[in-house]
Symmetry: C2
């Protein structure tokens, strides 16, 4: 099956207690697509500037990511600069330069307009809606958002939620969107906006999944060294949607496994800067970590 | 099999966003023993003052808790007053009156000096050691501690750790004791002090278990309403040690199940003030919640 992702391709500058990196490959569509590429065919719709290094485009292509929908526009690539302190749980944004992303008007190439799986990464909900309108209704539409859009574009976000299947949020965002502090209640409120299910990401504390019928609790894979949490959430989504696309069916059992695969992929991403770790792992590494995860959680 | 617990029996005054209660039954030995009583014979060694309500002694006895080792000393019962804010994760102590607990000198009655399982609840490590010296070496010795003893009695605590099997701590305490911020490294350092295994309690984020050979990750049971987290940790220990005592063997599979039973028991305790919820549940309620836990975590 095929996946389409719309989101950002960016150049990140990151400071962590373990080192600094400048202008490294980042962006939601980047992390998502590279993670998903282990499981399925995946194409991106995104925009970069003329300064975007060609080797990064090559890197995406070499790893099986379709770049037909990657526009190169006049101007500079989207840049994010951030810092993590010792607990590594919170990203402190130092600067955001939208650059070409400011006028991002996603166009889905005709050849990509019939994806079976669609992931709307965290961008303006009006743009997410616009992408959704350009494709034949996929088998599954998953979507990410953030506090900024919940605050400033709630109505657009609610309209979008009526048309998607799975919403991914972190716990603070779920509470903000629903006005409920308890996460069971928050999830049930989010589902009342339209999505069939909600995935609540809690970083090192794992993931909660809620549908109207059931819920599922998955702890995070425990790591001895975390270098850079940037991209963990989008990598999670890439592993999750990637796995669902590979198995092709979207039942409860498949969704649960997809959440574990998402967690496993994210556990690799945070072990190095940028997508470096994702570039070094094999399908066997993923399978081994999945098996280990089962071992350390079964009783 | 039989369990002995040494710890506090107290009168708590608790303020939460959901209500206040004054002089309700509390204390580590109380929560532990009532939780363990669902699984096994359990006796307490503790001290109360002359003001301790007789109905509370009756309550313990009526629920199968042996009170032969409960001394009634001249003076007032240990009192703790605390407050929880909306997130319910942190107890803010308003006042602690040790009263008769100040001179607590635990004596294990001869009839109780051959327990098969021993739980040393969070008291001065010198006293914990003293109790350990008064009993024939049990099949399993588990022990709790806290930041205060790690700070003020580290040497005594380290001596004690050489003689126990399982240490229970929360994540901050594990980091404090080991000097390691990563919990895998922290656990491995704690084990180097002597215990065969360490259980790291993370409240609503569940439990981590580490031995020198393996680790186990258990998310907490998700609840819609939490009224009062007081006693959750000791209830967890009671469920855990209680289950191990019931099955009688201490292998990896039993330990994992015991951790889930501990989590389940704790999930009941926090649903009401004091031990109220524990007094209302049946063995079937426990089994049902255990089965539900398996359902929401399996994949």
């Amino acid at each position: 099956m095929s996946i389409l992702v719309v989101g950002s391709v960016a150049l990140d500058s990151v400071e962590t207690p373990f080192g600094n990196r400048k202008d490294i490959l980042g962006g939601s569509a980047t992390f998502f697509s590279l993670a998903a590429s282990f499981f399925s065919k995946v194409d991106i719709v995104a925009v970069v500037g003329e300064d975007f290094p060609r080797r990064y485009v090559k890197l995406l292509k070499d790893n099986g990511v379709g770049t037909l929908g990657l526009s190169v526009n006049k101007g500079k690539t989207f840049r994010w600069k951030g810092r993590y302190d010792y607990d590594l749980n919170t990203a402190h944004t130092i600067s955001t330069h939208l650059n070409v992303f400011k006028d991002f008007d996603p166009r889905v190439p005709k050849d990509l307009s019939r994806p079976e799986f669609l992931f709307l990464a965290n961008i303006d909900p009006d743009l997410q809606y616009k992408v959704l309108s350009q494709v034949k209704r996929p088998k599954l539409v998953a979507c990410d958002s953030m506090n900024y859009w919940i605050n400033t574009k709630r109505r657009s976000l609610e309209k979008l939620l009526g048309g998607i299947d799975i919403l991914l949020l972190n716990d603070a965002e779920a509470r903000q969107l629903s006005g409920e502090s308890n996460l069971i209640k928050a999830a049930s409120s989010v589902i009342s906006f339209g999505p069939k299910a909600v995935v609540i990401k809690r970083g090192e504390h794992g993931v909660l999944y809620f549908s109207s019928k059931a819920h599922f609790v998955a702890p995070a894979y425990l790591l001895e060294t975390i270098y850079d949490p940037t991209g963990a959430g989008d990598t999670f989504a890439g592993g999750m949607v990637g796995y669902l696309s590979r198995v092709g069916s979207i039942n409860e059992a498949a969704i649960r496994k997809s959440i574990i695969y998402g967690s496993i992929m994210a556990s690799f991403t945070v072990e190095d800067f940028s997508v470096n770790r994702l570039l070094k792992i094999s399908r066997k590494d993923i399978k081994d970590r999945f098996d280990h995860y089962r071992k350390i959680t079964s009783f």
